[in-house]
């Protein structure tokens, strides 16, 4: 008996993606594979899930980048730490009609982040061990997209200059930087965004929100209660994380930012009128003590209205209720998005910050707006 798991199905998915690369008209089918909860990621290791996502991202360079894929691409540039997927997201941008200043800023930040963790990459095949195809470095791919962005004001790419001046850049990436300097400094009239704008596609429709009122939750102190007991009767801010997350740009930062948000709320009159909660994606592993430690270490203050939560059983009811971007491997999460929701006094989402590193001031403003009808009816 072999002790290795059966084939994980990535080869079959890769065949489908490769076929879609030859059919630009079907690129929305590629976008449909991007949500983390897609069945294609079910049961995969985090590395295998990462590889499929990178392979999809890179495909958009060829088939064109639809608007519906842009949030996924920008999220990866903003929060990704894997050279393979971040460079693939950079390649995806080359398939778009234009690269906005916001996307450009994320690209430059991604280059600075990946420079200290560079790796060789190739996107011709999905096999990471394939030595038959030519490889480049992830940093080089990101810089090539920076170069393809067209002329930009120098302050926007100062980080690239700093990187080059430091001298810690491999030869191929340095050559790409030289090219980028020429193109970024060119007269704007010389640049040309030649790509035809792709048709705007609507984002996938969210499923119905199942009722979770009776779902049993446990908080960081070990107290158990029903979803309705905590979330009904008062507005809430909720976010999602798990303590085993390997990406410091995601869960660790999310909880630190939630603590910062909590402090901002205390400075207003909102703190005593709302709940602040964070659900773990990994309720079996994240027992109360782990939740408590993770929050305290990042400055979160717990009380009756400020709790970290885990479902008593499966996490699926919460994932389904909020259509969360999270996928699971054989033991834990294999990929997830960054999400913060504002819930009304019935525990239903009324404002969502998805796939972006939310700004605390913006969230406070959104909470105020969400609280207004509640105050009016009170």
């Amino acid at each position: 008996m072999s002790v290795a798991p059966d084939r994980d199905g990535t080869a079959e998915v890769a065949d489908d993606i490769t076929a879609l690369r030859r059919a630009p008209a079907r690129r929305e089918e590629l976008v449909a594979l991007l949500p983390e909860q897609s069945p294609v990621y079910r049961g995969l290791s985090a590395n295998a899930a990462e590889r499929i996502r990178g392979f999809i991202f890179a495909s958009f360079e060829t088939v064109g980048l639809p608007q519906s894929a842009l949030p996924f691409v920008l999220e990866e540039l903003e929060t990704g730490i894997s050279p393979y997927t971040v460079a693939a997201a950079a390649k995806a941008l080359r398939g778009g009609a234009e690269i906005t200043d916001k996307a450009f800023t994320l690209l430059v930040a991604a280059a600075a982040r990946i420079a200290s963790n560079d790796d060789t990459v190739q996107y011709e095949t999905i096999d990471p061990a394939d030595r038959t195809v030519e490889r480049t470095s992830a940093l080089t791919e990101i810089i090539r997209t920076v170069a393809a962005s067209g002329p930009r004001p120098r302050p926007l790419w100062a980080a690239i200059e700093t990187m080059a001046a430091g001298g810690n850049i491999a030869a191929d990436a340095m050559a790409a930087i030289q090219q980028a300097r020429l193109r970024l400094s060119a007269d704007p009239s010389e640049s040309c965004c030649c790509a035809v704008p792709p048709p705007l596609a609507l984002p996938p429709k969210s499923p119905a929100s199942p009722d979770a009122g009776n779902l049993v939750l446990e908080d960081q102190s070990g107290a158990t209660f029903a979803y309705r007991e905590f979330f009904y009767g008062r507005a809430s801010v909720v976010t999602f994380f798990y303590t085993r997350c390997m990406n410091p740009e995601k869960c660790s930062l999310t909880v630190s930012k939630l603590a910062a948000l909590q402090r901002r709320l205390v400075a207003t009159d909102l703190a005593c009128r709302i709940n602040v909660g964070a659900f773990t994606y990994d309720p079996v592993y994240d027992h109360p003590r782990r939740l408590q430690t993770y929050g305290v270490d990042r400055g979160f203050r717990f009380d009756d209205r400020n709790r970290f939560l885990r479902t008593a059983g499966s996490f699926a009811p919460i994932r389904d209720k909020f259509d969360l971007g999270v996928g699971f491997g054989t033991t834990t999460v294999n990929w997830h998005s960054v999400e913060l929701l504002i819930l009304d006094a019935k525990g239903t989402s009324v404002r969502e910050f998805r796939r972006v590193r939310w700004d605390e001031a913006e969230v406070v403003a959104a909470v105020k707006a969400a609280m207004t009808p509640v105050a009016a009816t009170a």
């Binding site: 008996m1 072999s2 002790v3 290795a4 798991p5 290791s45 985090a46 590395n47 295998a48 990462e50 590889r51 050279p83 420079a115 200290s116 963790n117 560079d118 790796d119 060789t120 990471p128 061990a129 030595r131 490889r135 470095s137 992830a138 940093l139 430091g166 001298g167 810690n168 850049i169 491999a170 990436a173 085993r244 390997m246 079996v284 592993y285 003590r289 491997g329 054989t330 033991t331 834990t332 999460v333 294999n334």
Partner: protein, 279 residues
């Protein structure tokens, strides 16, 4: 000494040491790109390490040279991609020692190519680059990978004790293995080493269940003394347990202190009771 001073001192020491190993020039200076016109010793070292036609001793020296340079922090950034690529190539090298070192370095970094090579060896022993025990140990560096299902299959299969030990270590933080840990810990026919590892695992993933089972084992005279000693020691260090010790269990531990069969067990009992005596 603060962190910055420590880092500077450490880097200086590393530089001094590697100058003795390096073919020419300074590793750290080269990593910083200071020696632009001179041959790049670090790039040469990576090439030597990768080159299977070179004598193994030279390749080993080159690997040590590069590994030392990785401590140069940002100074090593320009070599990181090519070093990873070299490690992946050497992971399939004919030289067993170099192969194992490359695989280990990559596995610690949760590298997928290394994981695929290890899984391929588990699927087809003819292609195995390391032993099954080593493979599961290396896969276990990534708790988002395939180590858990692999370890479960090993524990169900006909493998030697060392391999099963590594499989249990790979499961150490897996909450899905609670039942398995409890079964092995409760089973007196299992080797003592597996039972002790299961005790550690159960204590980590389900402290409540561990507490119940461990108390039963400690109080059972028919049990293996080493397992009882380990269980008592683990209970002793379990957060919050001291306030929950009931009189029956305290009496059982007192009895062990008086008439336990082994010195280690009696010592553990004494330590346990002393830590609960009001000062």
């Amino acid at each position: 000494m603060n962190v910055d001073e420590y880092r500077k001192a450490f880097t200086a020491e590393m530089e001094k040491q590697t100058q003795a190993v390096a073919p020419s020039g300074s590793v750290v200076a080269a990593a910083r790109g200071d020696a632009a016109d001179a041959p790049d010793p670090l790039a040469q070292a990576i090439a030597t390490f990768r080159d299977s036609s070179q004598p193994a001793a030279n390749r080993q020296a080159a690997l040590r040279h590069v590994q030392t340079a990785t401590f140069a922090g940002p100074g090593f950034d320009r070599y990181r991609a090519s070093f990873r690529d070299a490690l992946r190539a050497v992971a399939e090298d004919k030289n067993e020692e170099l192969r194992a070192q490359a695989l280990e370095t990559l596995a610690v970094d949760k590298d997928e190519v290394a994981q695929q090579l290890l899984l391929r060896g588990l699927q087809n022993p003819a292609q195995a680059l390391v032993s099954v025990a080593k493979a599961v140990q290396l896969l276990a560096h990534d708790d988002h990978g395939a180590a858990v299902p692999v370890a479960h299959r090993i524990l169900k299969g006909n493998y030697d004790l060392d391999t099963k030990e590594e499989a249990l270590r790979a499961l150490a933080a897996d909450p899905g293995s609670t039942g398995l840990f409890a079964d092995i810990l409760a089973d007196r026919s299992q080797p003592q080493r597996l039972r002790s590892l299961s005790a550690s695992g159960l204590r980590a993933v389900d402290p409540q269940r561990f507490t119940q089972l461990a108390q039963r084992i400690v109080a059972d005279d028919r049990e293996d003394d080493e397992v009882r000693t380990n269980a008592l020691g683990a209970l002793d260090h379990l957060k919050g347990f001291s306030s929950k010790v009931d009189s029956t269990f305290a009496a059982a531990v007192s009895k062990i202190e008086q008439s336990g069969k082994s010195d280690d067990l009696r010592t553990a009992a004494t330590r346990f009771l002393r830590s609960r005596t009001p000062k």
